[in-house]
């Protein structure tokens, strides 16, 4: 018997990891959380597993962000450091360009409202309009409107940034 969940795992694991990564910005942690999601699904056997998996992933990411915030606040109290934005640290020379690209998209994504960002990421993870609507409490008809706005903002923010960096490069 091939498990329905196993098929879902094969088809969506990568999407779940990506979805989580765009929330926790830590590849390893995203994988841990994604596996946790599927372990929970095995215990729960939800009726609509695909939507369930992403709903639980979103919850885990939210919890993760909260505890990360708490940790950071704690560290800030200890060190007296200002809170820094989480960014991907450049590691080697050949990856610098890639990392800059990642950082620019990350920043563009951060300009979106939390709701627009959530819906865009759910769409990109492969959820359908009704699934997105069910998870976010939005009307199905409003999903298109939200996605239209989110896409426009993401691309605009990214283009603005790109123009700025080019200006900086030209002036220096």
């Amino acid at each position: 018997m091939t498990d329905e969940l196993e098929q879902l795992y094969q088809s969506t694991y990568t999407a779940v990891v990506r979805f989580l990564y765009r929330k926790v910005w830590d590849a390893e942690r995203a994988e841990d959380l994604a596996q946790e999601v599927f372990v929970r699904a095995l215990a729960h056997r939800p009726d609509k597993p695909r939507a369930w998996v992403f709903a639980v992933a979103a919850n885990l990411a939210r919890d993760e962000a909260r505890s990360a915030m708490r940790r950071k606040r704690h560290l800030t109290l200890l060190k007296g450091d200002p809170i820094s934005q989480p960014t991907v640290a450049p590691s080697a020379d050949d990856t610098v360009e890639h990392d800059e690209q990642v950082a620019s998209v990350q920043e563009a994504l951060n300009t979106l409202t939390p709701r627009d960002r959530e819906i865009l990421l759910l769409w990109d993870a492969g959820l359908s309009y009704p699934e997105i609507a069910a998870q976010t409490g939005l009307a199905v008809g409003a999903v298109g409107t939200t996605l239209a706005r989110a896409r426009r903002r993401l691309v605009d923010a990214h283009d603005r940034q790109h123009a700025q960096t080019r200006n900086h490069a030209a002036h220096s």
């Binding site: 990564y21 372990v39 215990a43 239209a148 691309v155």
Partner: protein, 338 residues
């Protein structure tokens, strides 16, 4: 003719529209170059968004096999079960300690120590204070066949309420009820008195606590009980007549937390037990005077039914008509099993 709004084109390209909506849009697009242009622009925007977001993908990622996750899920489930079991076990132990003393005050629970050793019962529970008051009052009416029990061997009196009253039926009790499902081994907690110097070896008709399975092995299908209620304790008094079925007392717990006992055995033994129980009752009522229980109408009632040379009885702090209904049902069940 109105042009297609931007969000509808997004929904159209995202396949988020119904079939009829799609048909409507497609027929408009066929004849509207402006909307065709808008559609192409939005398609490009979608592609750019997807391309930008695809940069935000973790580089690593060899997913573990699904069996690994299955094992983890099984492990998690196992851990959870174990946690629940240990909680339930602790709760049932608490309940059993309370109920165990209750049971001992009904049946006398006078297992001689040598019997305890022979039958590998739990180690004797050391009792600091002699329960003299109850012991004197409950001194058994010595019959010819049964040796009189010395007062000092009387089961210890405890300040635990005789019947778990409704008002104090705690979550632990309820958990215990859930944990002690029918049929389960009776909780092997028998308070046994300290050995006495002059252990009279002629003592017979001793009580012993046994498991549900053991009781069934000994008495076959005629272990008295009410189907569907959790079994708290099974006590057996071995008959001195070889071949005769023993005297059995089965304590069961109602969902309210009250304990009722069903007794089956040779008629003289059962009536003697009930008489002894009636005698010890006033005293134990005094000893639990501080407990807040619905003792109201004098606590436990008994109902007995003679079947040839055997007797079936039921005791519990329930209205007599409830007991009557129960004993009738039990009698019918036992007859049908035979």
């Amino acid at each position: 003719m109105r042009h297609i709004p931007e969000d509808e084109l997004h929904a159209y390209l995202d396949q988020g529209l119904s079939r009829s909506q799609c048909v409507e849009i497609e027929s408009h697009l066929a004849g509207c170059p402006a909307c065709q242009g808008a559609r192409d622009g939005i398609a490009a925007l979608r592609d750019r968004t997807t391309a930008l977001l695809s940069r935000l993908a973790p580089t690593r990622g060899v997913p573990p096999g699904f069996d690994t996750l299955r094992r983890r899920a099984a492990e998690v489930a196992f851990q959870r079960r174990r946690r629940l079991q240990s909680v339930a076990w602790a709760a049932s132990l608490v309940a059993a300690v309370a109920l165990g003393w209750t049971g001992s005050s009904l049946t006398g629970d006078r297992a001689p120590v040598q019997a305890a050793q022979r039958q590998e019962l739990p180690a004797p529970v050391p009792i600091a204070e002699p329960a003299s008051r109850q012991a004197v009052a409950a001194a058994p009416p010595a019959s010819a066949s049964r040796a009189a029990m010395p007062a000092a061997r009387q089961a210890p009196a405890r300040r635990a309420p005789r019947h778990s009253p409704d008002s104090s039926a705690t979550a632990a009790d309820r958990a215990a009820v859930l944990a002690v499902l029918d049929p389960v081994p009776a909780l092997e907690l028998s308070p046994i008195d300290k050995p006495r110097a002059d252990d009279s070896p002629e003592l017979e008709g001793m009580w012993r606590t046994m498991s549900w399975d053991g009781a069934q092995a000994e008495a076959g299908t005629s272990v008295p009980h009410i189907g569907g209620l959790p079994i708290v304790r099974v006590q057996v008094q071995v008959s001195e007549n070889v071949g005769q079925r023993p005297l059995m007392v089965v304590a069961q717990q109602l969902s309210s937390g009250q304990v009722i006992r069903t007794i089956e055995g040779p008629a003289p033994d059962v009536s003697q037990l009930l008489a002894r129980r009636a005698m010890s009752d006033p005293d134990s009522a005094g000893s639990t005077a501080d407990s807040t229980g619905p003792r109201g109408d004098g606590g436990a009632h008994s109902m007995a039914m003679q079947m040839g040379d055997r007797m079936l009885a039921i005791t519990g702090a329930l209205p007599t008509d409830s007991l009557l209904a129960m004993i009738r049902r039990m009698n019918a069940e036992m007859r049908s099993r035979r």
